[in-house]
């Protein structure tokens, strides 16, 4: 038997082969495909042009209006209408209107639609999030999505795997966001270009699902094709109640081949911040000078889950947002929104004078609901801080975990959570 990594095993299974190796070109069957209100209109246009009549499986294609939803303007409304009409025509089971929707990469795992052992493609670069479940999930363009919606298949070049071993117990206020920012800071934004990033070690084994999603979500920020974590009891606990169909756990063989291996002791790691204008400009929050801020965003497919909101609430409880700061809290899905409300988190946010929004990608990509003016700075729990990402070309975005974002909202400058307790 050939030794394989978890990524290779999943791809081999879906290609109907006993084994695959890096650089092999394969055609793999997919378990699930998704598009959003930005990417799906182009995919639908390509679908039409091809002359295709039906999607390969109406239960395995999801269309999720989340980027500019609720409709931010007439043009966005027209794009979302395109999705809605296509979903009706094709009788897609998984189309989500405002009021039932969520940010795609938080929504699909929560609904049990993407599962361990799956091959998932999505016309959105953060599709790699589902690697946290032990799935091979990767972002593609709209044309590739169109072809996959028609055929249920996609061709891949099998990526080489890179292993990242994390050792040691995390310090307080250090989570998945800090581990992945540390990683990108070490290897750079093209440090894993075309690779499968595999996260292992005792720190990962002790990591809750939420933090695993955050880590795999940002694998694309290092250029990776996928970020993946072998499923275990934590995964099983998350998936068991949600799964709508059978799933399979894969693990890398002991002697699987890796292109390179990084081995880090993270027991001394501080909460990290990525400075403008690249996710690789990473520094410990304690090493930063006074950086005054205008806005805080807690949300997105990276850090908009229930546990993220709990972290922000733990810091904000009984405090007030600094007078010159706008603090936006955006639960990533309708379910998270409802849970947060039931737990009393909204009471804490509203007492602190933060604003709570319905789920949307909104400000993360400079779409709507919190755009920055020239010269303004935001601390955001999102994933990208490129030039102009959240608004004006002369605005700045600092990426952090939810606790640092909440502490910064109170302090009016980038702050460690301990500074405001």
């Amino acid at each position: 038997m050939t030794s394989m990594t978890i990524s290779e095993k999943i791809l081999a299974k879906h290609a109907g082969q006993s084994s695959v190796r890096s650089d092999d070109l394969i055609e793999a069957g997919i378990d699930f495909a998704l598009g959003n209100d930005i990417t799906a209109p182009l995919a639908i246009e390509a679908f039409r042009k091809s002359g295709a009549e039906r999607v390969f499986d109406r239960e395995r294609v999801a269309l999720i209006p989340d980027h500019f939803a609720p409709n931010k303007d007439i043009a966005s409304a027209m794009q979302i209408r395109t999705l809605r009409e296509f979903a009706r025509e094709q009788q897609l089971v998984h189309f989500y209107e405002v009021g039932r929707m969520g940010v795609e990469h938080a929504l699909l795992p929560e609904q049990g639609l993407v599962l361990p052992g799956d091959v998932v493609i999505g016309a959105d670069s953060h599709t790699c999030t589902y690697g946290a479940l032990g799935a091979f999930a990767t972002g593609v363009g709209s044309t590739d999505l169109a072809a996959a919606m028609i055929t249920g298949k996609i061709w891949f070049k099998v990526p080489a795997s890179v292993k990242f071993i994390f050792r040691g117990q995390r310090r307080p206020w250090v989570g998945g966001k800090d581990l992945i920012l540390h990683t990108i800071g070490q290897i750079g934004v093209d440090g894993a270009r075309y690779k499968a990033m595999e996260f292992v070690g005792e720190t990962i084994e002790a990591l809750p699902m939420t933090d695993r999603f955050t880590m795999c979500n940002m694998a694309i920020e290092a250029g990776a094709k996928v970020g993946i974590i072998a499923p275990d009891a934590v995964t099983e606990e998350y998936v068991r109640a949600r799964a709508k169909r059978p799933y399979e756990f894969y693990r890398s063989d002991e002697d699987a081949v890796y292109e390179s291996v990084y081995d880090w002791d993270v027991s001394a790691l501080e909460p990290m911040v990525a400075l403008p204008h690249s996710p690789q400009n990473v520094k410990p929050v304690t090493a930063l000078p006074q950086i005054r801020i205008d806005q805080v965003v807690v949300g997105s497919c990276t850090n908009g889950r229930l546990e993220d909101l709990r972290q922000a609430a733990a810091v904000l409880k009984g405090k007030k947002v600094a007078p010159q700061v706008r603090c936006l809290i955006i639960p990533a899905t309708q379910w998270i929104y409802q849970q947060a409300m039931r737990e009393g988190l909204f009471e804490i946010f509203l007492e602190a004078e933060a604003a709570v929004s319905t789920p949307t990608c909104g400000p993360c990509l400079g779409g709507h609901m919190g755009i920055l003016a020239a010269g303004e700075r935001a601390v955001a729990t999102t994933n990208r801080n490129f030039v102009g990402r959240m608004g004006h070309v002369e605005s700045e975005v600092y990426l952090s975990n939810p606790a640092v974002a909440a502490a910064s909202a109170i302090a009016g400058r980038i702050a460690h959570p301990d500074e405001v307790q």
């Binding site: 972002g139 072809a147 093209d190 270009r193 075309y194 070309v393």
Partner: protein
């Protein structure tokens, strides 16, 4: 398949938000997207780029989002080819699927300067810098990929294949 024009030089890690900011993604119209191409990196680019011009960039061109609007905007602006040290994975695939020629060539990316007159031959993989009398070699683009580019992208190529009489081999 030859492309000739003036070089526009950009650095490493040019991201898709620089190529086409997300605030303009409420349309899929190539002309509307082209009007904002490279806006946050060089606001004058869209107005000044001429048909056949060539973007030359460093490492990891097209990193970030999966938006196909990025190669659509570049192609819509009239750019004939992008030459870079390397490309981000999703952009690489999207560029071919949209019919935008791209070549990986570290030597060309390092040597070509803004404003140089550059000629690219995709079938040979050669890049000639007429301003500096230099020639650089990239991997050639194989025939089926050139056919795909000439058709205008993957879907047009697939459509053309479907319309071919059965039994006739591809060119």
């Amino acid at each position: 398949m030859k492309i000739k024009g003036q070089a526009w030089k950009f650095g490493d890690d040019v991201d898709t938000d620089a190529i086409i900011p997300a605030r303009y993604l409420n349309t899929t119209d190539p002309a509307l997207l082209a009007a904002h191409c490279m806006e946050d990196a060089d606001p004058s680019f869209a107005a000044r780029a001429k048909p056949g011009d060539i973007i030359v960039a460093g490492r990891n061109f097209g990193c970030g989002s999966s938006r196909e609007h990025a190669p659509i905007a570049i192609k819509g602006a009239g750019v004939g080819c992008v030459v870079a040290h390397s490309f981000a994975r999703i952009f690489y695939r999207n560029a071919f699927n949209m019919g935008l020629p791209i070549l990986e060539c570290p030597e060309a990316a390092a040597s070509i300067e803004a404003g140089d007159q550059v000629e690219v031959d995709l079938s040979r993989g050669s890049i000639v810098n007429h301003s500096r009398q230099q020639e650089y070699q990239a991997h050639s683009v194989p025939p089926f990929m050139r056919e795909l580019l000439e058709a205008g992208g993957l879907m047009a190529y697939v459509g053309a294949q479907l319309r071919k009489p059965k039994g006739q081999p591809a060119k």
